[in-house]
């Protein structure tokens, strides 16, 4: 889809800025272990970026910090005009429900709920309920006829497509995808990735995707090597 002049202008406005972000976790011995130190990062509106990095290098922690699920030890995160680092937990929850979509590697969906209910639940958490929009999304991921199926009745690839629909249900400003193709075969990887990127573009959501798969990273115009961004090196992480 070609970008409009308005889109081009928006593209150069930052949606997300990160400054001096640091996070440590206590090891079983009680010592603090630094897992993340990102001096600076910026993401523009409608921008799509992929992080490539090894497993266990702190990428998921970074996504949790961006989503406001975890509080940072220090640093600033500004998202769509909100300072996440100074917001109360309840406000961060509200902001996340309204403006951030999340796609996980696997086991994305709630097993006790049908595909439609999984999508409606994400809407409910944002205080809305619009079944026709849920149907539109199910159609967009090609699974409308599976709306009443439970997740276990679907293939992994189909589950991931429902996960994508759910992440986009509240028309989020930002979609965070954590190894979304990690459990998929190449055909489903291409299908899901294509769907995720095009739907984000179609509905104006920015996308941050993390993966350790070069084939996935190669499909993004902009990709960042995670170890270049995170100042805590892998050797420190593994020896800590």
């Amino acid at each position: 889809m070609p970008l409009t002049p308005c889109d081009k202008k928006l593209l150069h406005m930052s949606l997300l800025t990160v400054e001096d972000l640091q996070k440590s976790f206590a090891s079983p011995s009680g010592q603090l272990t630094a897992v993340l130190d990102v001096p600076s990062f910026t993401l523009n509106h409608k921008e799509q970026v992929a992080f490539r990095g090894a497993s266990g290098s702190g990428k998921t922690t970074f996504l949790h910090l961006l989503a406001g699920v975890l509080p940072a030890d220090s640093g600033k995160i500004s998202f769509d005009g909100h300072s996440l680092h100074s917001m109360k937990e309840s406000s961060r929850d509200q902001l996340r429900a309204a403006k951030i979509g999340y796609v996980f590697q696997s086991f994305n969906l709630l097993n006790g709920f049908t595909c439609l209910e999984n999508i409606l639940l994400a809407m409910n958490l944002n205080g809305s309920s619009n079944r026709s929009w849920a149907f539109t999304l199910l159609e967009a991921v090609g699974l409308l006829e599976f709306k009443d199926y439970l997740p276990r009745q679907l293939s992994i690839g189909q589950q991931q497509r429902i996960g994508i629909a759910r992440a986009l249900v509240n028309r989020p400003k930002l979609v965070l995808a954590d190894e979304p193709t990690g459990n998929l075969d190449p055909a489903n990887t291409d299908l899901c990735l294509g769907m995720l990127c095009s739907l984000c573009q179609q509905w104006g959501s920015s996308l941050i995707l993390v993966s350790h798969d070069p084939r996935v990273i190669g499909q993004f115009e902009k990709s960042i090597v995670w170890e270049d961004l995170n100042q805590v090196t892998q050797s420190k992480l593994t020896t800590a």
């Binding site: 976790f25 497993s55 266990g56 702190g58 990428k59 998921t60 922690t61 949790h64 989503a67 699920v69 975890l70 937990e89 309840s90 929850d93 509200q94 902001l95 996340r96 429900a97 309204a98 951030i100 999340y102 996980f104 590697q105 086991f107 994305n108 969906l109 709630l110 097993n111 006790g112 709920f113 639940l121 994400a122 409910n124 958490l125 944002n126 205080g127 309920s129 759910r166 954590d178 190894e179």
Partner: protein, 404 residues
Amino acid sequence: MNTLTVSLRLAWRALTQNILTSLIAVFTVSLSGGLFLGAWKTKQTVNLAFAQSAGGFDAVLGARGSQLQLVLNALFHLENSPGNLDWSQYETIRSHPGVSEAYPFALGDNYLGYRIVGTTPDLFVHHQWKPGTNYQVHPPGRIFSDHAKEAIVGAQVAAEIGLRLGDRFHPYHGLEYNPDTRHEDIYLVVGLLETTGTPVDQVIWVPLKGVQMMEGHDASSANAISGVLLNLKGSSGLALDVKYNKQGDRATLAWPVPAILSSFFNRFAWMERTIAVLAILMALVGGLIILATLRSTLHERRREFAVLRCMGASRAVVTGSILWQSALISLMGALGSVVLFVVLSLSLSSLIRLQVGVSMGLPVFDKFIFLTCGAILLLGLISAWLPAQKLYRSSLLESLNPHG
């Protein structure tokens, strides 16, 4: 959809997803709560039922012996008679100015194990077994005549051995049925008593003279009676107590009947205390079961909550869902407790009625039951609070991406 509804929906789905675990928890809580209610309420109900089944008498005069034995024998038709009184003793107490009603009775025979009690027709004409209520005979029956071999039959006896109006029967000697001890006398059933829910229902009533003059009975006992059922005026019980129990040595006055029954039940105080301790332990077990159930399902739900939190679920939704889950188990458990309590009460009531004729009536739904249900709910919420907080704080990294 608000937080409350979303968390309730999540909780309900968690319950139905783990239906077996949930049912076991509900069943265990029901069992604990039901036994707890049963243990506490049965004592109260049995005491009350026995007190109300004393047949509207204040006192019993009988042979020298135990007051309790006298009451159980005369009013509840249990135990053996401690001995006999002379007719003159009956006449003496009947003419006492402090006595408003006096009915002599005699026993010593049975029919198929049901006691035959001899008394005067006045008992069925004048005595009110509960305020404002006399004994009633089903029409077209009537009360026996004083000098005829006639009988009126208690409702339970009639129902259980099928004695009908116009039937004739031979009494058997003694209080226990023995086919070899049949008397030659034949009695005619002239009336069937209406149900009273008291031990009277378990007795066949005949004229006093019938028992005294029964073929095969000792001729010396022709003027003897087993005791006298009494109603007293004002505080005359005190004077009679002094006269018979403290100064006399030929008879015993069992008075006041409710106090004697209380002293009987007080003998089982140790049992009540044991039941109370067991009941409290059961309640604790109920709480622990809820806790164990939640912990087991929460372990499985950790990932679900991590996903929900990433979707924007607030602390209220996460903790609310767990509290709702516990509340639903507790509520169903409380309901189950009440159902179990009703079943236990009705079974016990039926057993007691069958054994001693005392009707406990239907279980009473009072404040205690509602308080117990509230306590079960509270216990459930307290049990759920800590796991809920722990789950909210648990690491999302472990739950969502162990390699993150």
